[in-house]
């Protein structure tokens, strides 16, 4: 889980923090630093909570290759302060369910359940629903209720809170029910303080855009006023799930090396490299060890801190590692992207393009681009830009995003495109490590490799749009032409009849037919 890797990232800082603060648990750390996870203010918090839980639910269904059915309800519970209210948030899914013995930890312990493998995952904040539940507990002092079943004979219900100081779940109540109807999925329900009115536009945007890149999902949202927003699936077809891969040597840092060394069962460097890194075989491992002057028989667990740092530098310096492959990525695919855009934007025309896999700093990534024109897309004097990372909509800091820069730098006139046209542009990056610029994780950094791929994707789709526009212009011109003929020829007939002093107008049907035929040929 890439999420686990990021957790360690923060965990690394945690270790340092221990020196200063003494005993501080992971939960405590996040409690004190909730900005990092996106819970900056009451409006952001309610948005982040919904988003985290919805994304967990999507992942839970997709891991079973089941089209997700997700139901979200936010209900008003009472006033909290002048500007904020208490809401109850309930998220239901039809996903894989959480194994009963893991439920308390999965929802009541921050940084639980790491794996040391990489694949593309949604979680932008890397903390899943736990942070949301923690935030709810901090602001309302009420327990969260978790109901889950894997579809077998039992349903498990937990009421729990998080012991923030110890980072341990406190189980308040536990029930086991018979699962007569073979229900499968997870329901999370808890209270939190927030400002829905202010968050509403972003939340609705979030659902709409999530529906766009998850056209195989049913999303239902009931807001505190009882309004129902429903996003219905238009396809059962789902993208290939990503395969787990090992980290690529170019992409590791000291913290990851330490973790790997900690858990490895291998007793020498050669086997350590072959078994824990992506696309490293015996030959490459041998060459690297020669290059970095490390003995193949060296026990990795005996490396000193300085040697680990040196190992990381050498891994980055060695030029002969094979580039990572993209099997660990799960792009949406052109078909689904098209279906999603058509479903949510109802354009007159859409062009999509998926780039071939590329890498930056050892991390594979794939760019998918879509351009939609006309139909229900509004004309607002600028392009509508939709940004996605690992199938998650990015809704903040648009101006800083690399996609926006590439879009602004493009010479659109070459493609007969003007900024006042009704155009929506969609850019999706999927990667095992999305190159976010800041801890807020709302926009993509300007990496030359990423920039190039986005640019190429945009140019490809822009060319298709240009074809469409040229063709449409042509059809329009023909239609207009036919209109002119059928408007004026009868008049010429009428006037010449009276001028010539004839009784009966001339037969112009033949002429009109020939114009039509002529016109159709040109179209």
């Amino acid at each position: 889980m890439s999420r686990a890797y990021r957790k360690k990232d923060v965990g690394g800082r945690l270790k340092v923090a221990q020196v200063t603060f003494e005993e501080i648990s992971a939960s405590d750390f996040f409690y004190r630093n909730r900005d990092i996870a996106g819970f900056t203010n009451p409006s952001r918090a309610i948005f982040a909570a919904i988003r985290e839980l919805v994304e967990n639910s999507l992942d839970a269904a997709e891991s079973l290759k089941i089209p997700p059915d997700i139901y979200v309800r936010l209900s008003f519970e009472g006033e909290a302060s002048k500007e904020t209210q208490i809401y109850k948030l309930r998220v239901e899914d039809n996903g894989i369910g959480v194994p009963p013995r893991h439920i308390p930890s999965a929802f009541g312990q921050v940084l639980f359940g790491s794996k040391y493998k990489l694949k593309q995952q949604r979680g932008t904040f890397g903390l899943g629903g736990k942070m949301a539940i923690l935030y709810g507990q901090i602001t309302t002092h009420q327990p969260a209720s978790i109901i889950s079943s894997n579809g077998m004979s039992r349903i498990y219900m937990y009421k729990l809170m998080i012991d923030i100081q110890k980072n341990r779940p406190l189980i308040l109540d536990r029930k086991v029910l018979l699962n007569k109807e073979q229900w499968r999925g997870t329901i999370v329900e808890f209270c939190l303080e927030g400002d829905y009115l202010r968050a509403m536009p972003k939340i609705l945007d979030y659902f709409k855009q999530t529906a766009m890149v998850n056209p195989y999902a049913n999303l239902t949202f009931v807001d505190p006023k009882g309004r129902l927003y429903k996003f219905t699936r238009v396809t059962e077809h789902m993208p290939e799930p990503p395969k787990e891969t090992l980290p690529h040597p170019y992409g590791v840092d000291v913290e990851l090396l330490q973790r790997l060394i900690h858990i490895t069962p291998y007793k020498n460097m050669l086997e350590f490299l072959i078994n824990h890194f992506h696309r490293v075989g015996e030959k490459t491992a041998q060459k690297f060890l020669d290059f970095s002057n490390i003995s193949p028989s060296r026990n990795p667990k005996k490396l000193s801190h300085e040697e680990i740092v040196r190992l990381m530098h050498m891994l980055k310096k060695f030029k002969e590692f094979l580039p990572p492959d993209a099997s660990c990525l799960s792009p949406l695919g052109e078909e689904l992207l098209k279906v999603g855009v058509v479903k949510e934007l109802k354009p007159e025309f859409v062009a999509v393009h998926q780039r071939r896999p590329a890498t930056y700093a050892g991390h594979p990534f794939i760019i998918e681009v879509g351009i939609a024109y006309g139909g229900e897309i509004p004309k607002k004097g600028a392009f509508l830009i939709y940004r996605f990372a690992n199938r998650i909509p990015l809704l903040y800091d648009e101006a800083s995003d690399v996609s926006v820069r590439v879009i602004n730098d493009m010479n659109w006139r070459r493609y007969k495109v003007a900024s006042d046209m009704p155009i929506a542009i969609l850019v999706h990056i999927c990667s095992t490590k999305v190159p976010y610029k800041t801890v807020g994780k709302e926009f993509i950094a300007d990496r030359p490799e990423v920039r190039r791929e986005i640019g190429n994707g945009l140019r490809e789709t822009a060319r298709q749009l240009q074809h469409f526009l040229t063709r449409r212009e042509h059809v329009d011109r023909e239609r207009k032409r036919l209109g002119v003929f059928s408007k004026y020829l009868p008049k010429i007939a009428q006037f010449s009849t009276s001028l010539a002093g004839k009784k009966k107008p001339p037969d112009i049907e033949k002429l009109l037919r020939s114009v039509k035929k002529f016109g159709e040929e040109e179209v």
Binding site: R481, V484, F485, Y488, L489, K491, I492, A493, F495, S496, T497, S498, L499, A500, G501, K502, P506, D507, I508, K510, L511, S514
Partner: protein
């Protein structure tokens, strides 16, 4: 039978106009009926195709033709407008009604043939003139009247309601408007032996008050600036049907000079038309040399005047030595004078002294 005294062109021209319009209609009708895109051909009116014909002593259109075809999408609307204008004119002419350019512009809207502006409808009428080889007055589209005539000429109206009625053109002391009714009337009798065309209304009135028509046995025509085509055609008829010599008096400046020239040799704008000019008419004054000889009060020529003089100097209509001499004199003295300038010698000086002298000089 006084009526037959002069050979009339009025009836003839109306007949010709109706025939031309009808044959245009038949041509287009037949093309349509055979399943062809109708088209008409006409001489090009572009500047390169306008030439001066020294024999006719007027501008004419060259051999270059343009074809207006309903097959061409860009021609379709103007073509339809042209056919409409023809049908409209035919209706006017056969019903003996008249219209103006402005009227045409509005009438089109009744047929859902809206013109985008006055200029567009004016162009279509000019096209129709070119196609038919007739001027628009022939198919009863007249300009706003402003020029007038006074003198001993009896005419007989042909307009509906007035057929057979006669009028002597001395009957109204302000003169009679040269409008559709007068233009289409027949000449019955006259005692005049010359025509004097005058640029300005003030002098026209002075001449009537001073009995110039009697003293000089003349028909007086007010051109009111650059003369309308109906007036030019009227002057031509006075000249050709009644065999009267024509003398033109204008201001002494390049613009007055050109008013006379257009009466004599026609304009480039009307190169597609015939019988609007009077090649034998004479420009009698005010010349640049008159300004010198009569010591007239003057204004200096301004830049626009000078520029105009250079244009005229190169104009083929001005190649005659008299014109060239006057242009050079204007350039030399750099002065201009109006007809009214003679008033410095008393109100009647122009009639008593100047006019007889000049009529004699340009005889």
């Amino acid at each position: 039978m006084e009526k037959k005294k002069f050979k009339s062109t009025v009836i003839e021209r109306r007949k010709e106009a109706l025939e031309n319009l009808e044959s245009l209609g038949i041509k287009i009708y037949d093309q349509l009926d055979k399943g062809f895109f109708p088209s008409v051909e006409m001489p090009s009116r572009s500047l390169e195709n306008i030439h001066y014909d020294p024999l006719l002593r007027q501008f004419i259109l060259g051999d270059r033709k343009v074809r207006r075809s309903a097959r061409n999408i860009r021609h379709l609307k103007p073509f339809t407008q042209l056919v409409w204008a023809a049908a409209f004119s035919h209706e006017l002419t056969s019903q003996r009604k008249t219209s103006t350019l402005r009227d045409v512009y509005y009438s089109a809207q009744a047929y859902e043939m809206t013109f985008t502006d006055q200029q567009e409808s004016n162009n279509i009428i000019t096209d129709l003139e070119t196609v038919l080889g007739l001027s628009r007055e022939d198919f009863n589209i007249f300009p706003e009247e402003r020029s007038a005539v006074f003198g001993d000429l009896t005419i007989e109206y042909t307009v509906p309601g007035y057929e057979g009625r006669t009028l002597n053109l001395t009957s109204h002391p302000d003169g009679v408007l040269i409008g559709p009714a007068l233009t289409s009337s027949e000449f019955v009798k006259t005692t005049a032996d010359k025509v004097i065309a005058i640029e300005k209304g003030g002098l026209f009135t002075r001449f009537i008050e001073e009995n110039v028509h009697k003293k000089f046995n003349a028909i007086l025509v007010l051109t009111a600036g650059q003369s309308p085509r109906a007036t030019r055609h009227f002057i031509r008829r006075l000249n050709s049907e009644l065999n009267l010599p024509v003398y033109i008096f204008t201001d002494g400046d390049p613009w007055g000079m050109h008013i006379a020239m257009v009466i004599i040799s026609g304009s480039a704008n009307a190169a597609h038309l015939r019988e609007l000019n009077t090649p034998d008419a004479k420009w009698s004054g005010v010349w640049a040399t008159d300004i010198v000889n009569y010591k007239l009060p003057t204004d200096p020529l301004d830049d626009v005047d000078i520029k105009r003089l250079y244009e005229l100097q190169r104009d083929p209509r001005y190649k005659d030595p008299l014109w060239q001499r006057e242009i050079k004199t204007f350039m030399k003295i750099k002065k201009k004078a109006e007809q009214e300038a003679f008033s410095r010698y008393g109100l009647t000086y122009i009639v008593d002294e100047y006019l007889p002298a000049k009529l004699e000089e340009t005889k």
